[in-house]
């Protein structure tokens, strides 16, 4: 667990953060600039000192004002990937990578060669940071943090200074950290699409406070949090597992509580947890089960909530799960259609899903191997 309960005043800004999050998978800190995300991460890393409070990671108390504990950053074993890389300009890439790796330290659970291979750094080793592109710098920064063998990796907007192609270049590497190294990560971002792709747990921050903490699927589908999560294109995230492949038609089936989603073939073994993203505008509604229609994903649904109208459109929240395991789905329809269909909470309808986007979900939360300890 990551337990945080801190207060820090910086001029007129007051950070008051209290939350606990599982120390597995990726925990995203999301909020507008100025919400206090970086300050919070700096407090965790020990680079700034809280005015009061307590910080513990995996049972180890890193800061406690009451007990007089303030572990210096170099002994917290938290890796930190900064927005601007912060490579040491006077060292080669190789020396940057090995800076945190002192001789005889902790037996080397993460090997130099493995990290170089994982991040594709082999060709860069003898270069100097000044000669690297932005994306290369970030990869070296990630490798450098990994080789210090942290128990938790902090990433402060590691993609923010990169253009779209460079972002696309780095994202798979971050997914590898999550899936192959199973390293718990705190990921700061103000880009919801990155978070939906990567994170399991979402910590929403606003004006120095924690607005909400919970699974990404849950928070992104909550209407009351729309003002905070809103920049992300409205939609739902559904957890599912690969349940079947149809070779003839090149399709795959994903099972979720309450039904199966049919999607284009995904090259993943049966049972692989995945995360399906369905945009509100890709969902249509019908009051009777349609027949003779090309849509293959039609689900019986119940309207649970209707967002305030923003003429001409309105977002409708649906439940397509089971009574025991509700699954939220959003549909975007015109306000006129909503009136004519008589949509209201409790109304039974059918949801027609046009497109599904898939991300490979984290192993961290979905299938913890039996008997395996918390990695911290």
């Amino acid at each position: 667990m990551i337990e945080i309960d801190v207060e820090k005043r910086l001029g007129a800004f007051l950070l008051e953060a209290r939350f606990a999050a599982p120390a597995t998978g990726i925990t995203a800190l999301f909020g507008r600039s100025g919400a206090g995300k970086t300050t919070l991460v700096n407090l965790l890393a020990g680079l700034e000192r809280p005015d009061r409070g307590r910080i513990a990671v995996g049972g180890a108390v890193l800061f406690s004002a009451d007990e007089g504990i303030d572990v210096p950053p170099e002994r917290r074993r938290l890796g930190y990937v900064f927005q601007e890389g912060r490579l040491f300009p006077h060292y080669s890439v190789r020396s940057n990578l090995t800076y945190g790796r002192r001789s005889g330290a902790r037996g080397g659970a993460i090997g130099f060669d493995a990290v170089v291979a994982l991040l594709g750094l082999a060709a860069l080793l003898d270069r100097r940071p000044g000669d690297l592109s932005g994306g290369e710098k970030q990869r070296v920064a990630i490798g450098r943090a990994l080789l210090a063998e942290p128990r938790l990796l902090l990433m402060d907007e590691p993609l923010a200074s990169l253009d779209a192609p460079r972002k696309a270049e780095i994202l798979p590497f971050i997914e590898k950290l999550r899936d192959e190294l199973r390293l718990p990560i705190i990921y700061v971002s103000h880009a919801m699409e990155e978070i939906v792709r990567l994170a399991d747990t979402l910590v929403l921050m606003s004006e120095g406070r924690i607005a909400a903490v919970g699974p990404v699927e849950e928070l992104t589908s909550r209407l009351d949090l729309r003002p905070l999560t809103g920049r992300y294109e409205a939609g739902a995230v559904i957890r599912a597992t690969v349940a079947g492949h149809d070779v003839t038609y090149g399709l795959s089936e994903l099972a979720f509580p309450g039904g199966r989603l049919r999607v284009s073939h995904v090259a993943l073994p049966l049972g692989t947890p995945v995360r399906a993203r369905i945009r509100a505008r890709d969902v249509a509604l019908a009051t009777t089960r349609p027949s003779g229609i090309s849509f293959r994903n039609i689900f019986a649904a119940r309207v649970t909530e209707i967002a305030p109208e923003r003429v001409p459109i309105v977002d409708v929240r649906l439940d397509i799960g089971t009574p025991a395991q509700p699954v939220a789905l959003w549909a975007r329809v015109t306000a006129r259609a909503a009136h004519e269909l008589g949509l209201a909470p409790g109304r039974e309808v059918f949801a027609l899903v046009k497109t599904v986007a898939l991300d490979r979900a984290s192993y961290g939360r979905y299938d913890p191997a039996p008997g395996e300890d918390d990695p911290l």
Binding site: P73, R75, R86, P89, Y99
Partner: protein, 232 residues
């Protein structure tokens, strides 16, 4: 220019020795004071700042006299040093090096302090998250990044040391082979009749020495600068 005369060689060797020793001995102190002034927060920082810069604005003869009073064989510091370690600065080349070091100190500290203020503290923070303690961060990140400033400080200090005159002559007098550095030898020649040619030769020697130091520092600084910027 014909070969150097024994007198010139003696003055040159003494000047070099005084310059090198004064820089080498005061460099660690200069670094410490630069660090305190750039990074430290303590009461009396303004006083320390003023004290360090005093030799820059005081007449050198005042500094020399203060050294004479403090570090003379019977002075409060000099007497203690002699009784405890058997070391004395009175009227020998070590005294000349001390006088040169005190006079050069503000220049050295200024250069190092400026470069320290330019070191990106975010890099130091990054090093600490990688498990490096304060001392390791200082030695592996801070010092290498401020290396151009340390070099500049050392060269400036060296140049100032070999040209020191007023404090030296007041503190340790003008003793051939012991405290008669290039400027003091030049001064002695100008006081005696018929010394014009010899005086010119010494003046030229001083210019050559200073130029060599500056050119060497420029070349070194370029290399260090490239290193610190992370290219080449």
């Amino acid at each position: 220019m014909p070969a150097l005369t024994p007198l010139e060689i003696e003055a040159l060797r003494l000047s070099l020795r005084v310059g090198v020793v004064s820089v080498a001995a005061s460099l660690p102190f200069g670094l410490a004071v630069a660090w305190l002034l750039a990074r430290g927060q303590f009461p009396g920082k303004v006083v320390l700042d003023g004290l360090v810069h005093l030799p820059l604005v005081l007449p050198p003869v005042v500094v020399g006299y203060a050294l004479l009073v403090l570090f003379g064989r019977h002075g409060p510091v000099g007497g203690w040093l002699y009784d405890t370690f058997g070391v004395t600065f009175a009227f020998n080349w070590k005294g000349a090096a001390l006088a040169a070091a005190v006079m050069a100190f503000p220049l050295m500290v200024r250069a190092m302090r400026l470069s320290l203020e330019l070191v990106d503290r975010r890099l130091e923070a990054a090093a600490r998250t990688l498990g490096a303690g304060r001392l390791r961060v200082f030695l592996t990140i801070t010092v290498p990044l401020m290396a151009p400033g340390i070099l500049a400080g050392a060269i400036l200090g060296f140049a100032r040391s070999i040209s020191e005159f007023g404090a030296t002559i007041t503190f340790v007098s003008n003793i051939p082979g012991e405290t008669r550095t290039l400027p003091l030898a030049l001064y002695a020649l100008t006081q005696a009749p018929g010394g014009e040619t010899a005086a010119w030769r010494l003046a030229l020697l001083s210019v050559l020495l200073a130029m060599a130091a500056l050119v060497a520092s420029e070349l070194l600084a370029r290399r260090l600068d490239r290193r610190v910027r992370g290219v080449g």
